[in-house]
Assembly symmetry: C2
Homo-oligomer: 193 residues x 2
DNA sequence: GAAAAAAATTAAACTACTTTAATGATTACT
DNA sequence: AGTAATCATTAAAGTAGTTTAATTTTTTTC
């Protein structure tokens, strides 16, 4: 199991001794999802939180007209899952599937609870993680309220230059909240400048 | 100082003994903000996280055209602040002002750091709080992407019926991401039905 | 309780973004 | 390597939501 990445990730926020690190690793399970494969479907119970070692996932909903709306992308070093479904073990609101073949380390709810009990430092770890995620999301909400589609697109490619290259345009449109057609029109406008 | 509310709030997630509760309380400072008074201005450093005992605040940005965009309302039992500014002690992105006279309990960054050190249980407390906030915000992002203005308004009054009565319509519009004029048109449509 | 200030309503002209549909370009699969 | 499938582009007509400005209603203040 490729554990270096996740140990490095954790060590950015908390320091683990050897025993703690071993316990943590023992609670993880590895999984690989092929391109276009699903990690989660709306209505399923989200059994695990998932740390991405390699690849790219998208978390999205499908509205009454069948249109997809992406609430987040996940790449290396990110955690993904349907948090509400995971915590309450109730049906998920979101689909999660792979835009590339993706390798995950998974932790189940009982194992995470055990981890919090035995190594309370992980409370801090996830506190800081959620704190950062909160800031990022609030920022996105603010930009969705105050920016035009054009500004949101420019901000996206500025903030996630790696993603822009890896992800089809229509997925970016589904993240920005516009149609692929309109995104194409915006891009044409920039190309002319 | 009216501490009952905050102790009750904390006890929903963690149990404090007498010493811990006393330490916690000793780190808090009370503050009252008059209606229309500011807790924070864009560009200021956010010195405290703020728990609302009574009243109503709004956190908002002002865009290049002078239009206000509300990222969140805060009422009794909620924490408010500009989290990024608070954590990094850098200039705030948001304004926070009072829609009603508001009573707060404030904790400074050094005091919060001290609290995490001396009573690590608070790591769990804030971990759970941010976790819940994350879910709420992700839900809002999803609805901003997939709902029409009409659906978002109906969802808002369904989810926050207390707020609808306390808050001027134009503030709700600034939260939903539409103009007060358009909100008025929507309401007229409902009234006719 | 009167005057001033802020908020809500209405209407009409306008625009950012959508929809549909057809064509061309890339990417994926055997 | 070749065929199918997916994705991006373009154009034209349509719509959800904005803008401006005038009027009415409600709330605040002294």
């Amino acid at each position: 199991m490729n554990i270096d990445l996740i140990l490095q990730h954790v060590s950015r926020y908390i320091q683990l001794n050897k025993n703690e690190a071993e316990l943590f690793i023992s609670l993880l399970k590895q999984k690989t999802i092929p391109r276009k494969g699903f990690l989660l479907r709306q209505g399923d119970i989200c059994k695990t939180e998932n740390f991405i070692i390699r690849g790219c996932l998208r978390t999205y909903s499908i509205d009454e007209n069948g249109v997809e709306h992406i609430v987040m992308f996940g790449i290396e070093d990110w955690w993904v899952g349907d948090l509400y479904s995971f915590l309450s073990q109730s049906p998920a609101s979101y689909f999660i599937d792979a835009l590339e073949e993706t390798e995950l380390l998974q932790i189940s709810k009982p194992h995470l609870d055990e981890l919090y009990e035995k190594v309370p430092k992980f409370e801090r770890f996830f506190r800081v993680l959620f704190q950062n995620a909160f800031i990022t999301q609030q920022n996105r909400i603010n930009q969705n309220l105050s920016f035009t589609a054009e500004q949101r697109y420019l901000e996206f490619i500025h903030k996630y230059p790696q993603l822009e290259l890896r992800i089809p345009q229509k997925q970016i449109a589904a993240y920005l909240g516009i149609t692929p057609v309109f995104l194409s029109m915006l891009r044409k406008k920039f190309a002319l400048k």
